[in-house]
């Protein structure tokens, strides 16, 4: 099954390679020719990593049905952010020919330092997230082969395969393989719930049994009173602020053929999350029937455990291949996004302004390989900090949101205020994460809330102050 999936992916990448025009716009943005269906699947497949498969079920087991409220609605609301950021970003990038998010921000405000700061944040907070993909993929193959393929060998093979098809076909291949991966994810998780609930005597009966066994899973606060009003608010807000700021998502605002493609994606995005998110969470909740009292990271294995208990082996394997596809659909997009930013914003715009299109594409391809090796090196013996940093990724990237919206909409935005906003926001993040700033100063919210408020205030007040000082001097 894994071989069949790999072969199909290679065929797609060869087709993408044949169609490629060897320009940066074509390699990094598929020539800005992506239609609505492909755009929808590539945004969804890139956004929903294996966390959708494994993490949601685990969270459903640990927290209960309340998890659906924050995750599903919070993710649905991201569609509004796609409009706020995506529509203007598409329009401007089409008009000006921008290829990367730092390029858009830096050139819009005519500030190279801002472009570099924006780039640095995107790279710093995406790299550890990139490194986690081969870790997860390696463990899936290790388990699928009953240990015959060692973890790091599996991680290396997957990484090499991803580098191959991204190297060959760029964004065009990544987008088309995302369609394949998206269809797999959706159809498999639906089939998984149907088969599991059939084994449990039907969904209504299974829910009734879990309610009697563990009523906290059905409560407003979640099992063990997981949520408070403040954490609920924080979790529904954080996706809106951070998801459009992921470079691999942000760049997808540049690739549509027409603005109508993006409009279609935005409109149907909430419907998809409304329906699909319920499936893995339900599987996690129902996991209490055959597997009560799992603790900690054991709960993250609830999906493969339920599949093993209630579905035939071939189906269990197919779902794990789907989870692998989810890892790959995120990692290939991250590699391409990071490569494009380092090529355009560092190689071409800083060191070799006269670089030809051909050399930019070559450098971009080489950087895909270099970044993949870097991610693999981090995955070999991941330091504890990489996991801590990865968990801060969403908050770290959300710091860019006020700067981005201000740049896109507010003519009075000043680059110095944006730089200060970003530096202050990241400093606060480090402060909270290290304990230098006490938790009490979050007032019960996740750190993203006070950090967002502070970053926004600095952009607005800083820009007004600088404008006022400039007017005085004039």
């Amino acid at each position: 099954m894994l071989g069949a999936y790999a072969l199909l992916t290679l065929v797609i990448s060869l087709y993408g390679f044949k169609r490629e025009k060897n320009t940066p716009e074509d390699y990094f943005l598929a020539g800005r020719t992506v239609g609505p269906a492909v755009l929808f699947f590539t945004i969804v497949a890139t956004n929903f990593s294996a966390f959708f498969f494994l993490g949601f079920a685990g969270a459903g087991y640990r927290i209960g049905y309340s998890y659906y409220g924050t995750m599903a609605f919070g993710t649905s609301f991201v569609a509004v952010a796609f409009y706020v950021v995506g529509n203007r970003a598409w329009l401007i990038s089409q008009t000006k020919g921008y290829i990367t998010p730092p390029e858009l921000i830096g050139k819009s405000l005519n500030s190279k330092p801002l472009e570099m700061v924006y780039l640095a944040v995107m790279v710093i907070f995406t790299l550890p997230y990139l490194a986690l993909q081969p870790i997860g993929a390696g463990y899936i193959i290790f388990n699928l082969t009953d240990g015959e393929v060692p973890y790091f060998v599996a991680a290396s093979l997957i990484t090499a395969f991803i580098v191959l098809y991204v190297y060959l076909g760029g964004m065009r291949t990544v987008a088309w393989t995302d369609v394949l991966q998206g269809v797999m994810m959706f159809s498999l998780i639906i089939a998984a719930l149907l088969m599991i609930t059939r084994g449990l005597g039907g969904l209504g009966q299974a829910n009734a049994q879990v309610l009697e066994q563990e009523p906290g899973l059905f409560s407003v606060l979640g099992l063990n009173d997981y949520y408070t009003s403040q954490t609920w608010f924080s979790f529904t807000l954080i996706w809106f602020l951070s998801v459009p700021m992921f470079p691999h998502i942000f760049m997808r605002f540049f690739i549509p053929r027409t603005s109508g493609s993006l409009r279609t994606t935005i409109a149907i995005y909430p419907v998809v999350t409304a329906v699909l998110f319920l499936f893995p969470i339900t599987i996690g909740v129902l996991g209490h029937i055959p597997f009560p009292a799992l603790e900690g990271t054991q709960a993250d294995q609830i999906l493969p455990m339920m599949l093993a208990a209630y579905t035939p082996f071939w189906f269990e394997t197919l779902v794990m291949v789907g989870a692998l596809a989810a890892f790959m659909s995120t990692m290939d997009s991250q590699l391409l996004a990071l490569s494009s930013m380092l090529t355009r914003d560092v190689y071409q715009r800083t060191f070799v302004p006269s670089a030809s299109h051909r050399s930019q594409v070559l450098v971009g391809r080489l950087l895909v390989a270099v970044l993949a090796i870097l991610g693999l090196a981090l995955a070999y013996q991941p330091p504890a900090t990489i996991l801590e940093i990865a968990t801060q990724t969403f908050t770290g990237l959300s710091v860019l949101f006020p700067t981005t919206v201000a740049t896109l909409y507010w003519p009075a935005t000043r680059p110095l205020a944006c730089i200060l906003s970003i530096l202050a926001g990241e400093s606060l993040l480090v402060g909270y994460a290290s304990g230098l700033i006490p938790d009490s100063l979050t007032f019960g919210f996740l750190p993203v809330v006070p950090i967002f408020i502070a970053s926004t205030a600095i952009v607005i007040l800083g820009s007004l102050l600088i404008t006022s000082l400039q007017a005085h001097r004039a």
Binding site: L211, P215, V220
Partner: protein
């Protein structure tokens, strides 16, 4: 009468903000009692599904009316 851009933008921002506030589950009078819906899912699940479909419908209306509006003053920098 055509609604001016800024008023229209504020109106829609307010509508989406209200939808967001409706998702803040603890502000609602659910109480601690678990109420079940079809298939014995908590009723709140159906509420959130409805909220997301409402969001999709509002986005559909908003995008149809607002998508191709002419750029206003804030575009002069670009």
């Amino acid at each position: 009468m055509k609604v001016p851009d800024k008023i229209g933008s504020c109106l829609w921002a307010g509508i989406f903000a209200i939808v967001f506030l409706l998702s803040q589950d603890h502000w609602f009078l659910w109480g601690d009692q678990v109420r079940l819906g079809p298939l014995n899912f908590p009723l709140r699940i159906y509420y959130f599904v409805f909220l997301q479909f409402l969001l999709a419908a509002l986005l559909g209306i908003f995008l149809t009316r607002w998508w191709d509006r002419k750029p206003n003053d804030s575009d002069r920098r670009h």
